[in-house]
Amino acid sequence: MNATKKLVEIGNIVSNTELSADVSALVLECPQVVAEAKPGQFVMIKNEMGSTYLRRPFGVADVDKENGLLLLVYRKAGKGTQELALLEEGSPISVEGPLGKGFSFKEAGRTLLIGGGVGIAPIIYTARHLSEEITGPKPVILFGVRNHKELFWSDFVEDFAEKLIYTTDDGSYGRKGFAIDAIPDILAKYPDIRHIKVCGPTIMMKGIAELAIKQGIECEVSLEKRMACGIGVCLGCTFAGKSGKRWKVCADGPVFDGVEVFG
């Protein structure tokens, strides 16, 4: 089910910088995990000096295979991420991964990549992979963010995108509204889009998957659920698919066919 080898590696923090008031980018040197990581997979990290007990799942945002660097982007929400934000260059972080099954790639047709909130993170590596490794047209990228203060994502993906489009909740940049509202225009302008890959809030992915199914476009969604282990053991993250089969988000996903989840 997952061909990549999983391991635990102590990674050193190369940088831990604020991208906005509550979102930070963490770069870790962990060459063994990076060598195996595929787009859409995730890692479980633990700050061994911190006060939280369990590891926390983070989508692989990007990798620099040459230098063994892993990028994670996180929102400071709970105690674990607040403590993480205080760590400086050189601090060790335990990285377990790469975990799960990522996005699948086909050479025919263009891909529309969609991210919402910090769910944008895994879209970066996916865009890089599509642009650098997969023959075919570059992806169109659509990001749904709160406001104009969250345009920092552009720096990470600009080079890989045929076109980068934003929607903002408050209309302070790009189109006002949700990411899904922008899709009809995009599909009209890029009729060669055959695949949609989306990572964001459940409600956003549901709407987009339903739209994709109606349009006959293949759609993959990347799910997020509370989990303790990340390797298919604790069963904290399981759900029943539309086929009736039970899936583990961590081991069978986090990427699933939109039809199985929302169809």
């Binding site: 633990k46 590891r55 390797i231 298919g232 069963l235």
Partner: protein
């Protein structure tokens, strides 16, 4: 690791070390093969099996707590028949030398007997009877809090199997030694303690219990002192061997359980945090024995 120093016979089950992976935290063992050498795992104790497949509880199933976690999975498992047909052969193929203990529960005394009989097959080295799951409505903890019911289940299981029978006790009782003695008298070959402690957490934003099942089982380092105390008390009350567990994260933790009277230990929630924990704990015990010039791990048992 000096395997001679660690080799343990627990209630008739031969193990490479006295450190096992606890039920519900170690899958069926194979999930950990990238992280450790399964030959160095004392025993794989399976996820709790039930007569029929179970989907488990709805809603949030996991919550982190100070130095631990709550879970209310609700015994999600593929059922005994799928386990025997699809999973056990795979485990025996990939981990032929590791002791395998099947954990199971039922919702009636008869269920337990039927399960025990189905599990009386080659490839299963012992069975662990779960009379203490706090997260299922029927069975589970009902049998785990009433000495008579626990004894009845134990007798039923014993009469349907040739395997060593370990009965896993609940800590959610006033006096755990009463349960231990009842189960011993009913013929159990060994005891495992403790299962999780019932707890809950409330979401102050929604004003509702966070967990889908309202309450859950507490595990992790937070419960260790309670577990050590209970192992210590039970070891003084019974003659059958004890599998000690509850919050073991390090070799030092495991050694406390051995000194308290456990003949073997299991690592639970810590497997989620450090997936090599079972082997790391065994290595640490070995280093401790080496440093103190102790010839075999069994010399620690009950010395506190």
């Amino acid at each position: 690791m000096n395997m001679k120093r660690l080799a343990t016979n627990f209630a008739g089950i031969q193990m490479a070390t006295p450190v096992m992976g606890a039920s519900g935290t170690f899958g069926f063992g194979l999930e950990y093969k990238d992280f450790l050498d399964l030959n160095q795992v004392g025993a794989i104790i399976s996820k709790g099996l039930t007569p029929l497949p179970r989907a488990g509880n709805e809603g949030v199933r996991i919550a982190e707590t100070p130095a631990g976690m709550l879970n209310c999975i609700g015994l999600e498992n593929p059922g005994i028949d799928v386990f025997l047909r699809d999973i056990l052969p795979k485990v025996r193929k990939e981990a032929p030398n590791t002791a395998f203990i099947a954990n199971f529960s039922g919702s009636s005394v008869e269920d337990y007997g039927i399960m025990a009989e189905k599990l009386d097959v080659e490839g299963v080295d012992g069975i662990e009877v779960n009379i203490s799951c706090p997260n299922v409505k029927e069975g589970g903890i009902v049998f785990g809090t009433d000495p008579k019911a626990a004894a009845a289940v134990t007798k039923e299981v014993k009469s349907h199997t040739s395997k060593p029978v370990i009965v896993k006790l609940s800590p959610n009782v006033t006096d755990i030694t009463l349960m231990a003695k009842a189960v011993e008298e009913a013929g159990a070959d060994a005891l495992a303690l403790i299962n999780t402690l019932t707890g809950m957490v409330i979401d102050i934003n929604t004003w509702k219990p966070l967990l889908g099942n309202v309450t859950g089982g507490l595990s992790g380092p937070a419960v260790k002192p309670i577990a050590v105390r209970m192992v210590y008390q039970v070891a003084k009350a019974v003659k059958i061997p004890i599998l000690g567990l509850g919050g073991i994260a390090t070799a030092e933790d495991a050694i406390e359980f051995l000194l308290a009277g456990a003949s073997a230990v299991a690592v639970g929630a810590e497997n989620f945090v450090h997936p090599d924990a079972v082997v790391r704990v065994a290595e640490g015990i070995d280093a401790y024995l080496e440093k103190r010039g102790i010839g075999h791990v069994s010399e620690l048992v009950g010395k506190a």
